[in-house]
């Protein structure tokens, strides 16, 4: 089984929606279409299905027309019963006077069972939740016994758990069918698709496996937004929130959750935050990612390398103030203490000293000595709130 979309150009009204676009898909392919609104995802699906005829080019599919299954994005509400909705999937197989037979009912019930909705057969469609409705529509799609599934944003308007459930059902029931699904959630696409097509202005901008296609550059180009793409095992994309209202740059030396409160406070106050050195996936690392701060990071659970240390010093040099959080010091992050000392020498260090240092020092005298030197040249405070006050004072100098 094969699908080939060969150099199609689609015009709606006077504007070209798709331009000379080519796609090939074979058995078992799970393709996600990504692109901003109006990029042509829906038009592509509708053209493959056959609702729209391309101006140029052809859609080649080596199966019957009724083996193309298409799930539109928008669904009107109806008081039809669930089973009646699912039976509509049998339409292509009914005769001229469309009247479903016993076999059609069985297939429809099987389809309902496969999405776990068999107990809803007699309920009114309009009374179901968004996720349940979408499952019923998937059952409608599978009752049609398609070889290729064309799904237009099947997770739109759903909450996160319903989104995941719908995608799981699609993945599970798809088997070796061709699946082409338009999605707006990049992370959902990465988790479920084995191929991603990024569409921009009616053209395919990037195509390939999620790992190859999803980069900060490709997303910037196609969606026009700044994101950070994290590649620790699973790839995922986090938007960078630019909240630096007051624009003052503050560097936080933290780790292991010690910076949690500080980072949030700084972010809400509108400071442009950077932090480091942090091990990737450390809880503080995740917070900085969330608030869109710059991170000097090291691989998970490893000692700070000289390279990371140098980058940290660079970040300290570029910030207007540095806060040393109430963090524990071990062999792995001893260099962070040295960085703090550097900041104190520059006269821009604030130290949050809540827990007695000996309780959080796992290195011994060496750390003790550096810490006492740091304290001499720094503003020492006892809480995160005080740190913020001290920060204001420091910056107003």
């Amino acid at each position: 089984m094969r699908l080939k979309v060969d150099k199609i150009t689609v015009k709606l009204g006077s504007s070209e929606i798709l331009k000379d676009l080519t796609i090939e898909a074979k058995k078992g392919d799970f393709i996600a279409l990504l692109g901003p609104n109006g990029s042509g995802k829906s038009t592509l699906l509708r053209t493959i299905f056959g609702i729209i005829k391309p101006l140029k080019g052809v859609v080649f599919f080596d199966g019957k027309e009724e083996e193309k299954g298409y799930l539109p994005q928008e669904t009107a509400d109806t008081n039809l019963r669930v089973i009646e909705v699912v039976l509509l999937g049998r339409t292509p197989y009914l005769g001229r006077i469309k009247s479903p037979k016993e076999k059609d009912f069985e297939i429809a019930m099987d389809a309902l069972r496969s999405v776990g909705m068999e107990n809803f057969a007699d309920r009114k469609f309009s009374e179901l939740s968004g996720g349940e409705k979408q499952k019923v529509l998937l059952a409608r799609l599978f009752a049609q016994e398609p070889k290729i599934l064309l799904l237009d944003e099947p997770t739109a308007h759903l909450d996160i758990s319903a989104q995941l459930e719908i995608m799981r059902i699609i993945k599970e029931l798809a088997g070796d069918r061709i699946v082409i699904v338009a999605l707006h959630d990049i992370n959902l696409a990465i988790s479920f698709a084995n191929c991603i097509l990024m569409i921009k202005d009616g053209r395919i901008a990037y195509a390939g496996s999620p790992r190859n296609v999803i980069t900060e550059e490709s997303i910037k180009e196609v969606f026009g937004v700044e994101v950070s793409v994290k590649r620790h095992g699973q790839i995922y994309v986090i938007p960078k929130i630019k909240s630096s209202i007051n624009g003052r740059r503050v560097h936080v030396i933290c780790g292991g959750g010690s910076g949690k409160e500080l980072l949030h406070l700084l972010s809400t106050e509108g400071y442009s935050v950077s932090a480091g050195v942090l091990n990737a996936l450390d809880s503080d690392w995740e917070i900085v990612s969330e608030i869109g701060g710059m991170i000097v990071d090291a691989p998970p659970f490893s000692e700070i390398s000289e390279d990371a240390h140098q980058r940290n010093l660079e970040a300290i040099k570029n910030s207007e103030a540095v806060i040393l959080a109430d963090l524990s010091i071990g062999r792995g992050n001893l260099k962070n203490l040295i960085s703090a000392k550097y900041a104190s020498e520059l006269g821009k260090l604030i130290v949050v000293d809540k827990t007695p240092f000996e309780e959080r020092n796992f290195v011994g005298q060496e750390a003790e000595k550096i810490y006492s030197e740091i304290l001499k040249n720094a503003t020492v405070v006892k809480s995160e709130g005080d740190a913020l006050n001290a920060l204001r004072k420091l910056l107003s100098r």
């Binding site: 299905f49 539109p72 669904t75 009107a76 008081n79 039809l80 019963r81 509509l88 339409t91 292509p92």
Partner: protein, 319 residues
């Protein structure tokens, strides 16, 4: 299960309708006719007056309610009905013109029919221009606009030709008071053609309920079906208007009542709607002819019933 019940109801209404009227002729006379021993006057009243009147009422009821039911599905709008498409105003215009021009019954029917179907297509043509994003709404709004335009023209025509006012006004109000077998012969074939189409394609209406895209997704040629449906519902509606004048709200009251009772599956909904209306319409007509010494126009009764029902639907849906 519901269908046999409705058939029994129809049978009862048939018996009632040919046995009740302003004259004293009742069940006994009907029985005499069945036995073949009735006199000429009895035959004339029952066979040439009440029977065609009953059949016309059934034809009109079935035409309007089946059209309303289908149009509500097509437009996914509970307030859609034949009259909203402007067909009534078109037909009225044809009828007024025919009276002014001095045409007979047959000419009036033809001109009303012609003018109605032209109006329906004008509405459809304007409403389905590519300019509009939501064509279902565009067609309804075009219908309302053209209907009010034509009503204005109708008033103007009536004003300019006030001598024929009485005839036309009574016709406009909608009634079965002058039944003729000729009208039955003329309208019955159209009814059969129109209803056959709607019943045979009722499955498509189910698919349309989810949206045009979903109907296309299961392989229905929506654009063609919409054009066909508008043609056949126009045919049915203009037939009804041509023989009975303006009888509003039947296309809303009956389909919605049946929907509440048996749900929205059109292979059941449509036949049940038709059978309820073939009982309802003659019943209203019986009420119209026995409730006063003269005749209350049927259109007035349906409007009095329909207005509040319309509001009830509005409130229930919380539009």
């Amino acid at each position: 299960m519901k269908i046999p019940l409705l058939l029994i109801l129809n049978l009862a209404v048939v018996l009632l309708s040919i046995s009740v009227g302003s004259s004293h002729y009742g069940f006994d006379e009907v029985y005499q006719i069945l036995q073949g021993i009735a006199d000429e006057t009895t035959k004339a009243i029952i066979l040439d007056y009440r029977l065609p009147r009953l059949i016309l009422a059934m034809i009109v009821g079935a035409s309007l309610s089946a059209s309303g039911c289908s149009l509500q599905a097509l437009f996914r709008n509970p307030l859609a009905e034949p009259y909203v498409l402007g067909i009534a105003s078109g037909a009225s215009m044809g009828a007024i013109l025919s009276v002014i021009l001095g045409f007979g019954v047959f000419g009036r029917i033809l001109l009303a029919f012609f003018s109605a179907i032209m109006t329906a297509y004008l509405v459809f043509f304007i409403g389905s221009t590519r300019k509009f994003r939501d064509q279902s709404y565009a067609i309804l709004l075009a219908g309302i606009a053209i209907a009010s335009f034509l009503s204005g023209l109708n008033s103007l025509l009536l004003y300019l030709h006030s001598q024929s006012l009485h005839l036309v006004i009574f016709w406009l109000m909608g009634s079965f008071s002058n039944p003729q077998w000729e009208e039955v012969y003329f309208s019955l074939p159209f009814l059969i053609i129109g209803l056959s189409f709607l019943l045979a394609t009722s499955w498509n209406l189910n698919a349309l309920l989810l949206g045009d895209e979903h109907a296309k997704a299961v392989g229905i040629n929506v654009d063609r079906y919409r054009a066909e449906l508008i043609f056949f519902t126009s045919l049915l509606t203009s037939t009804a208007v041509a023989v009975s004048g303006v009888i509003g709200f039947v296309g809303i009251i009956i389909p919605h009542t049946v929907r509440l009772l048996i749900g929205e599956e059109h292979r059941q909904l449509l036949p049940a709607t038709i059978l309820l209306s073939t009982a309802f319409m003659p019943l209203v007509d019986v009420f119209a002819r026995i409730s006063s010494s003269g005749e209350i126009p049927v259109g007035a009764i349906t409007a009095i019933l329909g207005g509040p029902f319309f509001l009830y639907l509005l409130m229930r849906r919380g539009l």
